[in-house]
Amino acid sequence: MTASENGFSGTVGLFRLAMRRDRILLPAWISVFALTAAVSAQATADLYPTLGSRIAAGNTINSSAPLIAIYGRVYDTSSLGAVSMIKMGGFGGVCVALLSIILMTRHTRAEEDSGRMELLSATAVGRLAPLGSASAVIVFANLVLALLTALLLVAVGLPASGSLAFGLSWAGAGLAFGAIAAVCAQLSSSARTATALASVVLAACYALRAVGDSVFGSDHGPGWPSWISPIGWAQQVRPFAGDQWPVLLLSLCFSISIGAVALVLASRRDLGAGLFQTRSGPAGAAARLRSPMALAWRLQRGAFVGWLITFVLLGLMIGGIASSVGDFLNNPTAREFITKLGGEKGLVDAFLAIELSFGGILASAFGIQVVMRLAAEEREHRAEAVLATAVSRTRWALGHILIAAFGTAALLLAVGIAAGATSAIQSGEPNEVSRVALASLAQLPAAWVLTAITVAVLGIAPRLIVLGWVMFSGFILLAELGPLLNLPQWVLDVSPFAHVPRLPGVAATPTPFALLTAAAFAICAVGLASLNRRDIT
């Protein structure tokens, strides 16, 4: 056997194929991440021009356990980089990790599901080549991302050493979760399960470092839970606050070892099989499984339950933090920090308004995801079987759209009730539950508009359905960075979320809600009308 005939033969060819498939996706993602980091650094620098204002902002975060839990600790409050990149470090690391998870699943398990891997495996492609090439894609993507981010951060005026440390801390998180996703891809019997499994690990790692930083941590460093979390490692590189290079080695060694585990699993596994085998199902359908609506619910319910649990936890966290906002906001800079970002009346309400609007954006992602699933039903030819029965296109699509609409409402209610209840228990005001729940529901019409726009894309140009996510990311960037960049109001107004009053705590008229709801219905109707006219692919 020669070197070219081992399990890895064909890796280079597969790598080229993957690069060709991702030639738009990868550059787009990498530049969005790097640009967001740079824009955010620039904007914070403008916001806190003096050393004193930076120290005050840093202390605001460091003096609040809830904020430390969300963002992490600022280890050098006098460092512009450390203060401005605090939000980007942990959250950004999670986003980079998600990108790696998606990339790994896309090039391994998803290819097996589609049957394309079988075609490739029958050629002179080794058993380990798919995993090898996917790993190469991930290493390549994360290194490019790290270097580009570092360059852009230097370009906006941050120190070179810290910029490189920051870029590499992202890459460390990316590599670690690429390796975790590789193991998940070997264990699961479908791409969907693999992504879900890796995402659960990611959420757990984020939660670990939240506990480690806040509950067990001090000004000197975090407690042990942060040290067993790859997201914790990314933050402990402490860019611009001492640049702890050796921590990067921890990420690297972890990635290599977990990657090796994936390789061992891959070399022992049958193509298409997983450690968690598919169980058999019932020999006949339950009586209620008789309509396109029931089918849609069956297809979407698993994802919905996952979202619901996430939103309840999110609500509990928001409520917990909200009641302690008053405690740490007795210094004037902190006050300014929060009021700058939120409403005007009442600091707790201002905090709730920010967090609930974040919940609204997140809930709209659920709606978009549901419509994406509907689009996948058509693209993967399963819609054909339904539409060949006595089911109209409108009924078929409405099954999913109603789940998107009511599911989004349920998620917003869940986060509102959970936040309100936590806050009510701590403040002793029972009215808080309904007040916060209603404030959360105020986000619903705006979230519906995003769902409706995705339906319109499906109706008019199903091949461009990814525009749903593009629009979503655009609105997030607009909401997060627009005010910091002083963009003109009409640009900010493009986002439906810009028209939602910052509830609770401000007066609201029904007009914006009515208009947003009407817009959502109208756009959705246009989408359905187009769907009824075009060819089913």
Partner: protein
């Protein structure tokens, strides 16, 4: 009134002309074979009949109505089996069969269980675990277990093993005996020959031949191989309906007889068979071997010729000289 009536049907996808003036008539109660090579437009035609795709021009009538406008009402009366069956990965086969049947308007439970047995399909497996053939069976059971007037089947046996194909043919015969109309798209000729009464052959989105199977088989030729006791009769090669005549004189040693023997082979149209046999009988037949006409042979001739299908006239002109 025919169950399906298609006239001058045109459908283009971008610059590709998938259907280019297709004509198709399926009479109520018949099993109609819909033949054509890969990419000839069979699936597109079926998708138009289902109202999934809109026709650019031409008329389409299905059970007396426009399939695009009246899709839902029509679909209560028909069942469809796609060529490439996609199932929901996390629903079991049994769930899918029931769901599709119920959404169509009802399922015959008795027939469902007898079909499951006939096709030896395990309904408890999840969609993602079925092989191609078993996915096909799920769709077949879902379609055949419904009480519908019309079955639209797009290459329904691709992926089935020969035993299952035989079961499927038997099912089709039963369906037909119950008065159901079947449009069977296929490129497996044996299947079409076994079950269809009439066939339509298309190529590049156009109908090249349509008619009763028996008539088409007459268009095809019986292959004859004979040993004659003397030279072949005068003018055998010039007879209408005789093709590819080849004559070879075998020396007595080779033939294993004392007299000279002539080896003759030719292809003979159904109409000329009687005349040919009478003529050769006068010379004296030592042995006769015949291969019956198959649609396959006709089919191959249709697709080998890039311009037109064979007709009796053109054959007469191109017949081979002895």
């Amino acid at each position: 009134m025919p169950a399906i009536l298609v006239r001058e049907l045109v459908k283009t996808f971008g610059s590709t002309r998938a259907l280019d003036g297709l004509d198709l008539t399926v009479q109520t109660g018949e099993i109609h074979g819909f033949l054509g090579p890969n990419g000839s437009g069979k699936s597109t035609a079926l998708r138009i009949l289902l109202g999934l795709v809109r026709a650019d021009s031409g008329t389409v009538e299905l059970l007396g109505a426009n399939p695009f406008k009246h899709a839902v009402e029509l679909h209560r009366r028909l069942a469809y089996v796609p060529g490439d069956v996609a199932l929901w990965p996390n629903l079991s086969g049994g769930e899918i069969i029931d769901l599709l049947g119920r959404m169509r308007g009802g399922l015959n439970q008795q027939r469902r269980s007898s079909l499951l047995e006939r096709f030896q399909l395990d309904p408890t497996k999840k969609g993602r675990s079925y092989s191609k053939g078993n996915r096909q069976k799920v769709a077949l059971v879902a379609a055949l277990a419904s009480d519908v007037e019309l079955l639209l089947l797009d290459e329904p046996t691709s992926g089935l093993d020969p035993l299952m194909e035989a079961s499927f043919r038997q099912c089709l015969m039963d369906e037909s005996a119950n008065g159901r109309t079947v449009l069977l798209s296929s490129h497996i000729l044996a299947e079409v020959e076994a079950v269809c009464e009439r066939v339509t052959i298309i190529r590049s989105g156009r109908t090249v031949q349509t008619g009763a199977l028996a008539d088409l088989q007459q268009l095809s030729r019986t292959f004859l191989s004979l040993q004659l006791a003397g030279p072949p009769p005068e003018g055998l090669g010039q007879m209408a309906g005789v093709h590819d005549l080849q004559v070879e004189s075998l020396p007595p040693a080779v033939a294993g007889s004392t007299d000279a023997v002539t080896q003759v082979s030719c292809q003979v149209e159904q109409s000329a068979l009687d005349g040919v046999l009478r003529q050769v009988a006068q010379v004296g037949v030592i042995s006769l071997n015949s291969q019956p006409p198959t649609l396959e042979e006709l089919f191959l001739r249709f697709y080998a010729d890039p311009t037109t299908g064979p007709t009796t006239e053109t054959q007469t002109q191109t017949q081979t000289q002895a």
